[in-house]
């Protein structure tokens, strides 16, 4: 009989303790961010989709070596390049040399798994992560990014 009443009493006490905790929490300030009106700045190392980095001339640093393409587990990067002849002065005389120039750098963001292998594999520091995260669309085509075009848009 004693156990019966002590269980009721202890049970009621435990319930009161719980109510006390939630009552205290009721008056504490809210911790959430009203999202569309207020956004959080992403941390420095945040891994968004990738972006090309430009050099001093505003041209992409990328030399189209294709390391990122090979490192990507999902095969979502496709790039193309063409050879461009240019003249360079070597030991006082002009020589014609060939250089690869990036003509296309497409990122298929629908299959990207945001692992960052491409950025890591890049030996020239030509790709970086964007801090963009508000990516939503009804159209699948919106996630096929032409990074070269994005770079030009950023520069203009």
């Amino acid at each position: 009989m004693g156990a019966y009443f002590s269980e009721i009493f202890l049970g009621l006490k435990s319930l009161a303790i719980g109510l006390g905790i939630t009552f205290k929490e009721f008056f504490k300030p809210v911790v959430t961010v009203p999202y569309p009106f207020e956004t959080i700045k992403m941390s420095e190392r945040y891994r968004g989709h990738i972006e090309l980095i430009e050099d001093e001339d505003g041209k992409p640093k990328c030399v189209a070596c294709g390391m990122c393409q090979r490192a990507c587990p999902s095969g979502c990067i496709s790039l193309a390049s063409k050879s461009v002849a240019y003249e360079v002065e070597v030991k006082g005389e002009m020589k014609t040399k060939k250089k690869k120039v990036l003509t296309k750098y497409d990122l298929n963001f629908t299959t990207c798994s945001l692992c960052g292998q491409c950025v890591e594999s890049c030996g020239f520091g030509a790709v970086t992560f964007s801090k963009e995260y508000n990516l939503a669309s009804f159209n699948k085509e919106d996630f096929h990014f032409d990074l070269l075009k994005r770079l030009e848009e950023r520069n203009s």
Binding site: L15, G18, P73
Partner: protein, 372 residues
């Protein structure tokens, strides 16, 4: 309810719990043969989000598989990547700098706490209390912020590399982590008062959902499920890997075999993980995070390699059969939740559906990890 019940097997109906059901937290389906509220027979049906991670592991190069590993268990991703890098490092004999090892342990334990916190919230939500989930998520958010500042993402980290780490931690991270520890300790006390002591909560778990040590052995259950059944097994202690042997921590073991025991194991584990984190922060050596010598292309010599780690859900093993090329010949993942879930069919026979689903919650199932 304990005690024998008389089930009339001629008057049963089939209840299809899932694949879309609030209690299964994912796409697990359980076909239950019910006699009123009692379960006569249950059959779990898997495969709704099978993604062929093992096959992907055989078709991709070793570094390319890294992001896959964190997509097995989205709550405790760090531990799974840890197993992979440990296995490859041993296979290809890559030296790991000491600082990298300590940071790995730090991250894995932080991840373990965040995983247990989320489980705690989801488990109480299974029992009908919604508020603890929100408190747990708030605390977890602080851990995720810490980890995001270092790793760059919040869930699928992909932070470990063969031989070291992707990024070094800075003093900000160390100070922030030190600040979070007392906060978490305070929260754990709050959960204790709000949930663990609550009479309704205790009545729902005490003596409910028995999973005995024999059953754990039969199905290969590990982790908190086994430790709640009195089995003192933790890979961190029994087969120490990384630098775990240098830390002083206990393995909580409960012998009650009920849902409450499994709950208590996880709640105590969070406290132990905090202890490990504190020690790791104190002992953190200076130095590089990547080895000086590292093969450009990872090609482990021919052989069969197995590495087990203790993740938040139990013992996770990875078996790599290498034929000397840059792809694995066989890539086998032994996921703890798969074994833990297998015993559900047997354990829930004769239970009421409310208790069975409470027991399912105490198993801490993450469905993508079961299906792989």
């Amino acid at each position: 309810m304990s005690g024998p019940i008389h089930i009339r097997s001629d008057e049963t109906f089939t209840l299809n719990v899932g694949p879309q059901h609030p209690a299964t937290h994912g796409v697990l389906r359980v076909k239950m043969e019910m006699d009123g509220e009692y379960i006569v027979k249950a059959e779990t049906v898997l495969g709704y989000i099978h993604r062929m991670h093992e096959l992907m592991g055989e078709n991709r190069t070793y570094p390319q598989v890294l992001p896959n590993l964190s997509r097995l268990d989205y709550l405790g991703a760090m531990g799974y990547t840890h197993a992979h890098v440990l296995a490859i490092e041993r296979a290809a004999s890559i030296e790991v700098p000491e600082r990298a090892e300590y940071i790995r342990v730090l991250m894995v334990e932080l991840n373990r706490i965040s995983s247990h916190l989320f489980w705690f919230g989801a488990f109480v939500m299974d029992l009908g209390g919604f508020t603890p989930l929100m408190y747990a998520i708030e605390d977890r958010e602080h851990i995720l912020d810490l980890m995001e500042a270092v790793t760059g993402s919040r869930l699928t980290y992909c932070y470990f590399r063969f031989g070291g780490l992707y990024n070094d931690v800075d003093d900000d991270f160390i100070n922030a982590t030190r600040a979070v520890i007392p906060r978490l300790r305070k929260s754990l006390k709050k959960y204790d008062a709000l949930v663990t002591g609550n009479i309704i909560f205790r009545k729902r778990l005490e003596g409910i959902g028995p999973i005995s040590a024999e059953m754990c052995r039969k199905y290969g259950a590990t982790g908190p499920v086994a430790r709640g059944a009195g089995l003192d097994f933790d890979v961190r202690k029994n087969e120490p890997y990384s630098v775990y042997s240098e830390f002083d921590f206990d393995i909580p073991v409960y012998h009650e075999c009920d849902s409450l025991a499994r709950y208590n194991v996880r709640m105590d584990e969070m406290e132990q993980s905090l202890r490990i984190i504190e020690q790791a922060l104190d002992k953190l050596p200076e130095g590089p995070i990547m080895p000086k010598k590292k093969p450009k292309l990872i090609k482990p010599p021919k052989g069969d390699y197995y590495q087990a780690v203790e993740t938040a859900r139990g013992s996770f093993g990875i078996r790599i059969v290498s034929d000397g090329t840059k792809n694995a010949y066989r890539f086998k993942l032994r996921s703890p939740t798969y074994s833990n879930m297998s015993l559900f069919d047997e354990a829930c026979e004769g239970m009421m559906i409310m208790d069975a689903l409470a027991m399912m919650g105490s198993l801490d199932l993450v469905i993508p990890e079961i299906d792989r």
